[in-house]
Amino acid sequence: MRGFRRGLKIAAIGLALVAAPVAAGNKLIPAGQPVAVAKSVLTVTPSVEWNRLSARPGRNSESWTFDGDALNDLTFYGGIEPEKTLFREVSKRNKPLPRIKATMLVTDIPTLVENSYRIALDTPLFTVEGMEPMAFAGKPGIRFTYSFTRPNEDLPRKGEGRGAMIDGKLYLITFEAPRLHYFDSGVAAFRQVADSAKL
């Protein structure tokens, strides 16, 4: 049968595309000040300090962390437009990601995250645990929780997202961490940041 041709190629592509020299420049996000994020009009006011990572998942997104993204990852998506993908595609040819549509309902946001992760990480182990309405930046929005495991790791992770479709664009904040200790220890800080979101 096809063997591991597929798996190895994906790994090689992923590595080749990202193996640029590591840029210094992880920035400190100070506590208590409003800050615009993800090169957009979305602003938040964190009550504790964070580190902003220099590597971005995509053009209108950015990530914060306390200890490094494998232990806590707070990511902002600021106004992703229709026909764009949630984050950078590794291979448009072989693994195209789903695209934002202007007609998307808030309930489609968790599915977009799920399918994007399933494809990008090459894993079927992604489950949306639940979703409920919750305002985001003062607009009708959604809160959802999820769990997933990266395929080459045995560390189950939990995630929580808050977002909305505003003027046909997607605004979203997610927090992910290993379910062992790190999710619980960081989620309160995430919720505070998400609650403070303004447009």
Binding site: L17, G68, A70, L71, A120, L121, D154, H181, Y182
Partner: protein, 255 residues
């Protein structure tokens, strides 16, 4: 975590670069932490040991004989070194059933933690601002680790990881040729490892010693002894030994 590739890229960059890295060998200590000899029980978790060859093309080839030899040699060397760490060391007994899955998850979490310490604290070009202040070394595996089946009765947990890819003759020749022809850096062989100590009351990482260029051929008993002594260098509370190794200043030279 779509950015999982970022961490791998860093790891790849670290192992591919031929130019010496400033952070080739580094130790971190939780500020103010001390461990007096004879005061604690330490549980040694099952070491993660990988030994194989690196072909000319750079791909890793497992070698079962070498890994078995290394496991035996390192096991003996660790057992012997344990007695000289100043405190009582016991081997972790792998639980059965559900406990095994939890132990597995903790092992994975520790590996993630140790990698991040090296990526975001030890590697100077990439440090996180909050980790840069003074002698800050605040890393934890979470206090719930005290409930892990098998660590009860111990005060600290010691994790050890070593990885060796012995460069083949072809690889070493390629290294010389590439350097001569175009000044291209080609690494030959991988010999890295780290050892870390977790305080079981708080889950805090109180000590981590990482080295990307370790010495000692782990396939031999003498080499394993040397490797273990490098892994456990600077171990908290270890009584001072008469130095047999060269002084710190020359550590980064080839061994």
């Amino acid at each position: 975590m779509r950015r999982g590739w970022g961490a791998l890229a860093i790891a790849a960059a670290l192992t591919m670069a031929a130019t010496p890295l400033a952070a080739q060998e580094k130790t971190g200590n939780k500020p103010g932490f001390t461990l007096a000899p004879g005061t604690a029980t330490i549980v040694l978790m099952r070491p993660s040991i990988t030994v194989g060859a690196q072909s000319t093309g750079g791909s890793y080839e497992p070698n079962a004989d070498w890994t078995d030899q290394a496991r035996e040699n390192l096991g003996n060397a660790l057992a012997e070194a344990q007695g000289r760490l100043g405190n009582r060391v016991v081997n972790f007994v792998e639980p059965v059933g559900q406990g095994a899955a939890v132990a597995h998850e903790y092992r994975a979490l520790f590996t993630a933690l140790a990698d991040l310490v090296q990526t975001y604290q030890f590697f100077p070009g990439n440090r996180l601002p909050t980790k840069k202040r003074g002698d800050s070394f605040l890393w934890t595996i979470g206090a719930e680790v005290a409930k892990l089946p098998g660590v009860q009765g111990a005060d600290y947990a010691l994790f050890v990881t070593t990885e060796d890819h012995y460069g083949s003759t072809g690889r070493k020749l390629l290294q010389l040729v590439a350097a001569g022809v175009g000044g291209i850096g080609v690494s030959a062989g991988v010999h890295k490892g780290y050892a870390g100590l977790i305080d079981l009351k708080s889950g805090d990482l109180v000590w981590l010693n990482a080295d990307l260029a370790m010495g000692g051929d782990v396939r031999t008993p003498e080499g394993a002894v040397k490797r273990v002594s490098q892994l456990l260098e600077g171990f908290p509370g270890k009584p001072v030994e008469t130095p047999a190794a060269p002084p710190t200043a020359t550590k980064t030279t080839a061994r």
